[in-house]
């Protein structure tokens, strides 16, 4: 199902307008965006610039008011709710600022969650969960509850959950925002390593220290892409 010239994501003229009390807010205006397979892209900008909205549209949590969005060559901007949840489940892996692990579930169950929504057999799930946990070096904590882990450990579990289903792309929303710099560095190193092994990553951050980890950084301001920088090779 590879799209032409290895293009994983293609956005054309995507806009998002919120209507509130006769007031139109243009959260995003005419965004054109392409992400190649295996690319590590950062989206940077001050808060309120539309980063989160863009990420939500990229992650199919929200749909654009205008414009087209092709994921892996398929148009996805106007899919039914159930199709969107299926795509979120199979083709997208989320990493959140607040980790967003479910407190009632163990580390193992948290990582297993996306697979259960896929209706995968339990033996296969077990294999994949363990592999993912090993990859983030959290296999020894699989019986723990999130509350028993440090922030850095929780985020590593969240990364394992994002990649357990072999998604096409990892979407990371300020993954270091709730971490101290030591743990933040460790998570960034983990993402780098994943990228080195072929993962496509799109990360939203307002922290310029981390933006340069990416190969390419889009600078967003007031809902528009104002600049693009390439990391020094």
């Amino acid at each position: 199902m590879a799209s032409p010239n290895g293009m994983l994501i293609k956005m054309q003229g995507v806009s998002k307008i919120f209507f509130t009390d006769e007031l139109e807010t243009h959260a995003l205006s005419a965004i054109d965006l392409e992400i190649k397979k295996g690319e590590y892209l950062a989206i940077a900008g001050p808060s309120g610039c539309g980063k989160s909205t863009l990420l939500a549209i990229l992650g199919l949590l929200d749909s654009p008011t205008e414009g087209n969005y092709f994921l892996n060559g398929k148009p996805v901007s106007s899919l039914k709710l159930s199709d969107r949840s299926r795509i979120r489940n199979r083709e997208i892996g989320f990493i959140f600022q607040a980790f967003n692990l479910i407190g009632d579930l163990t580390v193992y169950e948290n990582v297993e969650l996306p697979l259960t929504y896929r209706g995968m057999a339990s033996a296969e799930r077990k294999e994949k969960v363990q592999a993912a946990l090993q990859r983030v070096e959290m296999a020894h904590r699989s019986k723990h509850y999130p509350a028993q882990l440090s922030g850095g450990q929780q985020q590593r579990v969240a990364v394992a959950r994002a990649l357990v289903g072999d998604p096409l792309i990892l979407l990371a929303d300020e993954p270091t925002g709730n971490l101290d710099s030591k743990n933040g560095d460790a998570v960034m190193d983990l993402l780098k390593e994943l990228h080195a092994n072929g993962a496509t990553i799109c990360m939203v951050t307002h922290d310029p220290r981390y933006a340069h980890h990416a190969e390419r950084t889009l600078h967003l301001f007031d809902g528009r892409i104002v600049e693009q920088t390439l990391a020094p090779v």
């Binding site: 407190g103 929504y117 896929r118």
Partner: protein
């Protein structure tokens, strides 16, 4: 000590004045000190400074002063109450629901308790009621059919003289009399009693005099004592009624006394089925002709007051000695024994179990109300924990915080209790008005001090029950946790959720139990309505007549009257058949005596018993009783000794043989051999829930008593029988205006009325069960809804990870239903055991009737699903964008 407490209490209410006083005293103290210091040569500023240093903390001094003069608990309570009221104002919805559901729960429980209180707990309104015993006779040879018998009149006279363990003994029987001389003849219910009845019970007429001993003798007892109700109704409460004369059964009777309004006379003593229907008491006025023999005619309720210091066993031993002497004297080949039954227990009789069941059921509803409130309060715990943490950081102890919480719960409960007592007042009136006569001492129900105490006690119990959960929850947590956010808070609310889920299980369990028990009662009633009555219920009108003895002493006169009525009815349009019977179906037993076949080996005592019924030939077709074999007697059979028997008679005596033409020995009157000419179907004779009795139907010419003085005219009509009531009344009045109608009702109404005693508890049980179901549904709704609200973030995460709406819906439903299923299973298991306890209330269904269990399980699951589904739908409306938002 007490005085000091009162002073402290007084100072609590005079706080502000005392504070002002102290203020004045302190300022004078400082001034005195400053003056001293000035005198010692200090500068004014230094003098003031030193005075303040010497005095120490002014605020501290005030606190100490308050602590030692007042009651700190009261001050704290005052604060807590103010805070509680503020909390109530902040959430008026919760407060209203809490108080209202509590009021309904406490009100209903209190109302049922009032009934239980008067029926089971309050002593009978007689002097020393625990010394009163019913005396019943036992003929061992009849014990198979009649374990105990009422008392015989001549036996009673012997007991009065010879049983010294009895301080006194009285007898009474229910009677009716035709009141004439006024406009419409009327049948009055009354009691024929020995003259000493009131002294034995320990009461005295409110006006006039009691009966005199000689009024028990023949011809001297034409006097009446009226009940208060009848006197107020007939004489408008005019005291000059004493000495007046009224005509009963054509004989003038003088009114000599009026009973007090509060004089109960239960059915076991020979009273009417409802005390308010009772009109008069009359003395024995000598034995009737048939009341001469020492054995037989066991018609009277006998009540004995034991002599002081005599035990029940001693009295019984003496009674049995006297009984055996009577048997020897009677010389009829039977033995005679007696038994003593405590009057108080007998008055309640079989209603006890039903009442306790209802009390338990309504108590269960109250428990569910409490569980719901506990759940609502628990939902507020996380919020309260933050508040508690702030208070704790300001130095409040945990005990102080819990006390604050309990103040609120008790305040709620007392408000609910007060409103509940008010509601109970109405409920009691409603119960008394609607309840069937089966509930003993219903006329005595009121809300006395014990009922009010009970209401207070259950209010306290309720508050303790629903307040202890949130309090316990708070003690189990570290207040600091509440100030943290994030994952810890989730686990915090998870623990609360578990507790609330157990409460849901508890509610569902109780509801299931109640629904099953109510369902079993409904199934029983359904079985009864489907029971094969053996007669037609629809389109049958019953008109009871009571022929005044003075005009109808001859059988020929009575027969003539009945014939004229039947002839008159034939001319009415739309009547299919008309007949008469001495006692109609469900009209009770009567004319019960032996039946046998020639050469039967049984001794006299073992002779089977049958109900004898004189009937007109058309009775069977009018009543819809099927002719199975042979024929009905007709005019052509005149003077032949022939009978029609019910099927069970034929099967009893001639199994496998043709009963037609067989001879049986009837023992109604003198023993007479009679030929069976027909066999008709069995009928439910006394009650729908009692198996058919053996019936022998005799023609009017059978013997001297086969034309009854009272009978029921039975009309089979084409259409609704009620419209014939008017014409029938007119017809009978035209024939003889002095003949009163005792009944004029469609048979369907009589059948329905006979089930009232079952229908009423069933109705209440159903009411309680449905209330529980509603409450439990609200409880489920609340728990699931709250949990969805708490877990919006989690639901958003799950959506982001690819859960679709069905996944979420299923998950919320599954989690919401889990405690429901636990409760359901527990409820069903309990019901299977509890059902045995109410076995005596059931008819035709077993306590673990599968259909009932399955229906209830289905209803509970369906209602719970709806209660889960509504909030679960909210889960699907969570915006997954929530995962990208941070506060």
């Amino acid at each position: 000590m007490n005085l000091r407490f009162l002073q402290r209490l007084a100072s609590f209410f005079r706080r502000s004045q005392l504070d002002q006083d102290l203020e004045a005293e302190m300022s004078s103290h400082l001034e005195l000190a400053i003056e001293d210091n000035l005198r010692n040569g200090m500068s004014p500023a230094e003098a003031r400074r030193q005075a303040l240093i010497q005095f120490g903390g002014a605020q501290q001094a005030k606190e100490q002063h308050r602590d030692s003069r007042g009651i700190p608990v009261l001050d704290v309570l005052h604060q807590d109450l103010r805070f509680a009221l503020r909390m109530f104002r902040k959430s008026p919805g919760f407060t209203a629901i809490a108080i209202l559901t509590l009021a309904l729960g406490i009100g209903a429980t209190t109302a049922i308790f009032s009934v239980v209180n008067s029926a089971l707990l309050r002593p009978l309104a007689y002097r020393d009621p625990q010394r009163l015993y019913l005396v019943r006779e036992i003929v061992p040879q009849l014990a198979k059919f009649y374990p105990t018998l009422s008392a015989n009149l001549p036996d009673f006279h012997i007991w009065q003289k010879q049983v010294h363990a009895f301080a006194d003994v009285a007898i009474a029987e229910s009677t009716t009399a035709d009141l004439t001389g006024h406009d419409e003849p009327e049948v009055l219910h009354g009691v024929r009693a020995s003259a000493n009845i009131f002294s034995v019970l320990g009461t005295h007429p409110a006006l006039g005099r009691t009966f005199r001993p000689e009024e028990d003798d023949s011809g001297r007892g034409r006097v009446l004592i009226l009940t208060d109700a009848f006197w107020r109704n007939r004489f408008q409460g005019d005291p000059s009624a004493i000495g007046k004369t009224i005509t009963l059964d054509g004989v003038p009777h003088e009114i000599v006394g009026i009973l007090p309004a509060s004089f109960p006379f239960p059915q076991v003593l020979g009273g009417a089925d409802s005390y308010s229907r009772l009109a008069f008491f009359k003395p024995l006025n000598g034995p009737e002709s048939y009341e001469q023999s020492l054995i037989g005619e066991f018609d009277f309720a006998a009540v004995a007051r034991l002599s002081p210091g005599v035990t029940q066993d001693q009295a019984l031993a003496e009674l049995n000695v006297v009984q055996s002497q009577i048997a020897r004297r009677a010389n009829e080949g039977v033995d005679l024994l007696g038994t003593l039954l405590p009057l108080e227990t007998e008055v309640v009789g079989p209603a006890r179990r039903g009442l306790l069941f209802l009390l338990a059921a309504v108590g269960a509803v109250l428990l569910i109300v409490c569980a719901n409130l506990a759940s609502l309060l628990l939902a507020r715990v996380p919020g309260r924990m933050r508040e508690a943490a702030i208070r704790a950081s300001l130095g409040a102890t945990q005990a102080r915080i819990i006390r604050q919480l309990l103040t609120e719960t008790f305040l709620l409960s007392f408000a609910g209790g007060a409103l509940g007592i008010w509601i109970a007042g109405f409920a009691v009136k409603w119960l008394v008005r609607l309840a069937p006569p089966g509930i003993p001492r219903l006329d005595e129900v009121n809300m006395d001090a014990r009922v009010l105490l009970f209401a207070l006690a259950i209010s306290i119990a309720a508050a303790s029950f629903f307040g202890v959960f949130p309090a316990w929850r708070i003690t189990r947590s570290q207040p600091v946790d509440a100030l943290k956010s994030g994952v810890t808070a989730t686990t915090e609310s998870r623990r609360t959720r578990r507790l609330r889920e157990s409460l849901v299980s508890f509610e569902v369990g109780l509801t299931t139990l109640l629904l099953i028990l109510a369902g079993l009662l409904i199934a029983s009633l359904g079985q009864l309505l489907r029971v094969h009555t053996g007669f037609t219920v629809e389109n049958v009108l019953i008109a009871g007549v009571d022929l005044p003895p003075q005009n109808y002493s001859q059988p020929a006169d009575r027969l003539h009257f009945y014939d004229r009525v039947l002839a008159g009815l034939q001319s009415l349009p739309g009547i299919q058949a008309a007949g008469w019977v001495s006692i109609p179906p469900l009209g009770g037993e009567g004319s019960v005596t032996g039946i046998n076949i020639p050469g039967a080996p049984q001794t006299q005592a073992e002779t089977p018993i049958a109900n004898y019924r004189p009937v007109s030939p058309d009775y069977f077709s009018a009543m819809g009783i099927a002719l199975l074999q042979g024929r009905i007697f007709g005019p052509a059979d005149h003077d032949r000794k022939i009978v029609v028997v019910s099927q069970n008679v034929a099967e009893r005596f001639w199994p496998g043989k043709n009963p037609i033409g067989q001879i049986c020995i009837t023992q109604w009157g003198p023993d007479v051999p009679a030929e069976v000419v027909g066999v008709v179907g069995d009928i439910r004779t006394v009650q729908l829930d009692m198996p058919p009795l053996m019936m022998v139907y005799v023609p009017t010419w059978f013997n001297t008593i086969s034309v009854p003085t009272s009978a029921s005219i039975v009309l089979r009509t084409v259409r609704g029988p009620a419209i014939y009531a008017g014409p029938v009344r007119d017809l009978i009045r035209n024939i003889d205006p002095d003949v009163p109608l005792t009944t004029l009702r469609p048979m369907s109404q009589i059948v329905s009325h006979s089930l009232d005693a079952r229908r009423f508890p069933m109705f209440l049980a159903m009411l309680f069960a449905l209330s529980s179901l509603l409450l439990a549904a609200l409880g489920i709704f609340g728990v699931v809804g709250y949990s969805v609200e708490q877990r919006r973030q989690e639901l958003g995460i799950r959506m982001a990870l690819g859960a679709n709406l069905q996944d979420l819906l299923r998950m919320v439903l599954r989690q919401g239903m889990a405690p429901v299923i636990v409760g359901l299973v527990a409820g069903v298991i309990t019901a299977v055991f509890a059902g045995r306890l109410i076995g005596s209330l059931l008819f035709g269904v077993s306590a673990n009737d599968l259909l009932t269990l399955a229906t209830v399980a289905f209803v509970v699951v369906a209602v719970a699903l709806v209660a889960c589904y509504i909030p679960a739908c909210r889960a699907t409306r969570v915006d997954p964008m929530i995962v990208l938002r941070y506060e």
